[in-house]
Symmetry: C5
Subunit: 356 residues, 5 copies
Amino acid sequence: METSVRQRSKKAGLPPGTMVHIGEPATEPASLSVIRYGPDIFSEHRSVPPETLDTIDVSQGVTWIHIDGVHDLSLIEKIGATFNLHTLLLEDIVNTRQRPKVEDYNDHLYIVMKTFDFDHGRFGLREEQVSFILGPGYVISLEEKKGDIYEPVRERLRQGRGKIRSMGADFLVYSLIDAVVDSYFSLVEGLGDNLETLEALLVSRIPTHETITTIHRLRRNINGFRGQLWPTRELLSTLERSAPSPVLADHIYTYFRDVHDHVLQIMDTIELLRESLSGMLDLYLSRISNRLNEIMKVLTVIATIFMPLTFIAGIYGMNFKYMPELSWPYGYYCALAFMGTVSLTMILYFRKKKWL
Amino acid sequence: METSVRQRSKKAGLPPGTMVHIGEPATEPASLSVIRYGPDIFSEHRSVPPETLDTIDVSQGVTWIHIDGVHDLSLIEKIGATFNLHTLLLEDIVNTRQRPKVEDYNDHLYIVMKTFDFDHGRFGLREEQVSFILGPGYVISLEEKKGDIYEPVRERLRQGRGKIRSMGADFLVYSLIDAVVDSYFSLVEGLGDNLETLEALLVSRIPTHETITTIHRLRRNINGFRGQLWPTRELLSTLERSAPSPVLADHIYTYFRDVHDHVLQIMDTIELLRESLSGMLDLYLSRISNRLNEIMKVLTVIATIFMPLTFIAGIYGMNFKYMPELSWPYGYYCALAFMGTVSLTMILYFRKKKWL
Amino acid sequence: METSVRQRSKKAGLPPGTMVHIGEPATEPASLSVIRYGPDIFSEHRSVPPETLDTIDVSQGVTWIHIDGVHDLSLIEKIGATFNLHTLLLEDIVNTRQRPKVEDYNDHLYIVMKTFDFDHGRFGLREEQVSFILGPGYVISLEEKKGDIYEPVRERLRQGRGKIRSMGADFLVYSLIDAVVDSYFSLVEGLGDNLETLEALLVSRIPTHETITTIHRLRRNINGFRGQLWPTRELLSTLERSAPSPVLADHIYTYFRDVHDHVLQIMDTIELLRESLSGMLDLYLSRISNRLNEIMKVLTVIATIFMPLTFIAGIYGMNFKYMPELSWPYGYYCALAFMGTVSLTMILYFRKKKWL
Amino acid sequence: METSVRQRSKKAGLPPGTMVHIGEPATEPASLSVIRYGPDIFSEHRSVPPETLDTIDVSQGVTWIHIDGVHDLSLIEKIGATFNLHTLLLEDIVNTRQRPKVEDYNDHLYIVMKTFDFDHGRFGLREEQVSFILGPGYVISLEEKKGDIYEPVRERLRQGRGKIRSMGADFLVYSLIDAVVDSYFSLVEGLGDNLETLEALLVSRIPTHETITTIHRLRRNINGFRGQLWPTRELLSTLERSAPSPVLADHIYTYFRDVHDHVLQIMDTIELLRESLSGMLDLYLSRISNRLNEIMKVLTVIATIFMPLTFIAGIYGMNFKYMPELSWPYGYYCALAFMGTVSLTMILYFRKKKWL
Amino acid sequence: METSVRQRSKKAGLPPGTMVHIGEPATEPASLSVIRYGPDIFSEHRSVPPETLDTIDVSQGVTWIHIDGVHDLSLIEKIGATFNLHTLLLEDIVNTRQRPKVEDYNDHLYIVMKTFDFDHGRFGLREEQVSFILGPGYVISLEEKKGDIYEPVRERLRQGRGKIRSMGADFLVYSLIDAVVDSYFSLVEGLGDNLETLEALLVSRIPTHETITTIHRLRRNINGFRGQLWPTRELLSTLERSAPSPVLADHIYTYFRDVHDHVLQIMDTIELLRESLSGMLDLYLSRISNRLNEIMKVLTVIATIFMPLTFIAGIYGMNFKYMPELSWPYGYYCALAFMGTVSLTMILYFRKKKWL
């Protein structure tokens, strides 16, 4: 997650508004799809050639233009020219290190959000930038890589389920944002599962150095995700406040409030996970200390029992000429018995002290 | 408590406003009861069949519709149709992972709160969602499971105690909210008792690994509860500010201020509990350290006394031909006396250092 | 201090406005005293029978009604009836678990504050609730137990010192609040003294488990006091802002600002005490660690000196037939000398390492 | 610093506005000096007798009255009577435990600030209260003890350097505040030097108990100073906002902004010092832990080498009749060689583990 | 970084507005360059003699005056006289210990920022102050030392790339601020690299005292940088809010919002780095504790195996006359076998406990 500004220095010294693709290098060419719909109409075109962009007519119904892959600068430029977008906006689209934000360009809104991929095995979190441009009658959505996050929305449009077809472009943007936020829920569930696994481990097994590394990595993921949630929340409250506007109808307010609420819910959970994690660190450190105590107890018990015994044996190993005990017929057995008594006393003492 | 977003991912991809029951699976069928009252009238109907909902007339007196069990989607839908509720509101009712909140739908208010069940044995906290819809002349209250939290309110209505019968629907909602907040007081008392037990344990007995696990679990409960208190407080200050409104009379303000005050009081106490708990963690860690010091002192004392003694015994166990002491008549006793002197010196030294 | 919500659950389920005494059970009956004064008049009546309350005329001068003991519900009810007080206000008076607050009931103000008793021996803090009702021309003050905190104000009234007799009821309330806040100064001094004693102990003596318990207890007191200071501060800034009002003259603003200032000053000091205390915890833990280091040094020095010596003695205790040294005439003395050399070397090595 | 409320309880029970000197007892009598200046005029009178206060005419030019020593209550009272000051203001002047603040008395401002004396040897911080009263055409400045902090301002006035002589009384107050804030810079430099010395010590030498005591004391000073900076900052932003006023010209705003900026700068540095100090505590604790590890390594190495050796010697010290090795001609040398091998192996093992 | 107020005390006692150069002593003489441009015109003059400043005509196009080296007080004074700048502004220019800030002097803006140099080897951060004066038609930029941070802007002006030549002086200031903020990205990348190196080290190798020193130093750099970011952010949001103004066109708002966004992004990353670093401290301390546990395990295992063995050998080394085992033909071998059994048992015990 710390890499969120990586590569950014590539842009140093370039004039503002210069498009430079910053992000993971793309493996597939960018592709363009167009959906147009209204209460009674629906058409879908995949792999639309960029040249035909000019011919798109956004005056009727709602037009949804979706682009997979923001590394194709000429395509983005074409979009910019067609819809008359600010150069700073185009620059932000191709630079995938943005913070979640909403920017008001009077006749259109520009919204940046993040989606996350959680790799359960390596406790790693990969983020991807998605952005939306909401203009009068059209929505342009952009993704770094081909994903299936909007597929349910498309399906609803195709089948005319819900009221989405009878609503405007603002409702489409709301649906897309809702889809993104919905994907956070499963991420949070994944993080929660990781935490529970970790806790079970902490309680049942002796913690190793790996445990703390895992705690460290989880914390980093949670912090990274949380760092994106804060501006996402701000984004949504800005949207809530900015309705009505030329591109946002009045009734859309209720919907944005609902998504806002979801984000707040996720943030609450993330805070609990954070506190839980810091509690686990305490648990871990306490177990290490306890373990040291236990090790030292073993050492002390052994030393305390055998040191006096060895000393007694040492006494009767002395070579003095006149040592009356040595010539007693039962001297040896007396000595053994004495040693036994000493060690028993010690053991009872430790029992009483609850060390054994 | 971290499970507050669990199951939520079941909804990913569904159109907004789709009702999906999210929460613990219900064991009993949902049930509906209706109370109607006014200064002079009172009628109560239990186990009302949902079909008769249409026939309820809310124009006279105050109608209180109570529903146990939000898993019966058809019932909720029926309610929504009868009282003309927003689909997002219905969605929130059946999704029991909401944050406490109040939403203003112009002619009705939607309020979500949480009740908590504290399992004293396992230090576990279980939360349940309750919600209220306050419209002109009617209140709809919803609970996840049959509970007895509102029973005192019902009793007051039945017996006409207090001024509740002569007040409007807003006062009923206030009474229900007050009942919920009152239930928090006993929860906080329970948490406080747990803490005191824990502290007594920490002071009197040697702490074990279980101690820290208990601290950890208590902290989780407190954090979980606290996480719900913050939005509850917000909810109440919103209510306070929003009066007067179509459904809230002006004089209700004083009452909401009173509940608000109770929540603040609970929050103060929770903060103190939190600080107390973190103080206990310090106590615990300090005791572990102290204990290690003690163990090491025992080891050091034993080693320091017996190592020199064993060494002296070792000297007179050497087999040199010419060792004058060995043939002294009282050599053995001299050696024993010397050993005694050495160990006594050591003991006195440790006494002086306050180790013994 | 965590007990601040104790007993509160006694009220669960009762109608709002029901008076239930919550607090320490009273040992003495409640008593009522009335002082009336003006620039030229002064009369004082102690142990006034509650029945005569109706006959009190508040139209001339300022009337100060003081009540010791809020457990006498019939008395409080009588007051409420006489001065036309809200049932929620009466409920708050007898429930001594309120937060400090000011409530505006249009024609009268209701103010709740706390006084504290510091038990120097047991580091314990006991809080008591005091409240004031400021109406036009009268002040009602209530205390849990008979105290002498307002005695200086009474004395000033009796002797006509300062300008108190020529001012209105608002100035009397200010004087009473000032008396309460003044009592905090000596509490803070007491806490400060405790801290200094603790610090001197930490520096001069070896810390024991008691030290940390004392730190813990002091911290709890400071946190408990601080938890009441925050709302007290809020209370005063509300008072400052609310002047002028029907019961607060304009010039009283300057006086409330002064008390507000005192509270800020106390809060600053409390913050410093808190930081100091957390510094002492660090000191304490560091001393424990240092002590462990010292203990281990003693053990290591002893072991490092005697282990090689014992080994040498062990060698010459072996029973091989051909061990030339054993038959050397000065073998024994050589061995002793060798041992001496080894132990001296060790001692010098530890000296160099600054362990001795 | 915790003593900031000390002696304050002396005032408990006195009527508000009663002057009681709270602070260090004075050693010298209070003294009064008067400077009057304008673009063309300048006169300076030292040791002015208080009786002549009435005769001072503030209608022409700017009059600066400076008082060293606030313990002379009759002098302060005289000032109060001459300039018609509120009794609460006079009370604040003689009580040197105020927070930095500005109070607006309509036709004059009352400003309280703190100066600090840093005792480099004992890491001690002593604070002194200074206050200013800014009225139309006059400034009264008060100090606890004779100091030279305003000497540069006086010198500038005497020599007519800068524009101070051509500006009003507000500029004089600004100059005095600036002089006070300037003195903070050298305090911060002193604290910074202390920290650097401490850090050098921490890196080069083995930390002792004194190190942590020093850290503790430095932290207390920094916290104490910081506690005064916050209200100082507030004071300055209030001044900035309150211009223009009857006593503050419009153009003075730019100057107050400048001092405000200096205070912000000092606060930034103090925050960095605080973080640095807490980093040093970590350094210190880590060194202690490292040291324990080292001590334990020495012990373990010694024990691990000599225990097996002593055991081998013990074996050949047994008195069994039939022990073939004992009668081997080179048995002794074999045994020694075996012991050497064992100890060499151990040493190599520890080398590999980087313990030696 | 703590040195940010160093040398500042040089100014104590001087009249406000007195220029004193505070900062690193300059090694080169100050130099002055002038660029004038417009949509169609461009001229650049390097090493302009200060005497010709009066002759500069700023009425046509945009004039950019750049000064390397702020230690030349006469040059700064000349600038001040030519452009009619406030003495406090000039004082701020030569005092290189300012916080980032923007000050509005009605007809011109004064902006202070910081650039940073990161010395990768010594983990050191050096800051340099840059400032801008934006007046109608002209920009004056000042740097402490000759740097190449603005070179890309100059190059764009020379070649007429982008729209910079067709925009006003406000766009030039924006471009310079953008260049400064762009330089932060590579600093943050550098800090991130350092952290990653550190983390790799922490995971793979045994941490030494140097590790903590490095953590400490990195933290100091991050805190120092962060301390400058906060006011930088404030600066930019002030600029955003202050447009339009006499010197800021309305459309410049969008550009400042963009830079503001970059700073927010950097701050997010810095927060993540901070959290990461504190996680590393935990990792480090945990490794030290783990290591102690390991050392103690080795000691305990060795002692637990050899102490009983030595004791057994000690028993058969006793010189009692009647010890039957001693005369058994296979007594010696039995004893050895017994010892072997004991040590094997111990080893198996430790295996089971996972100590070996």
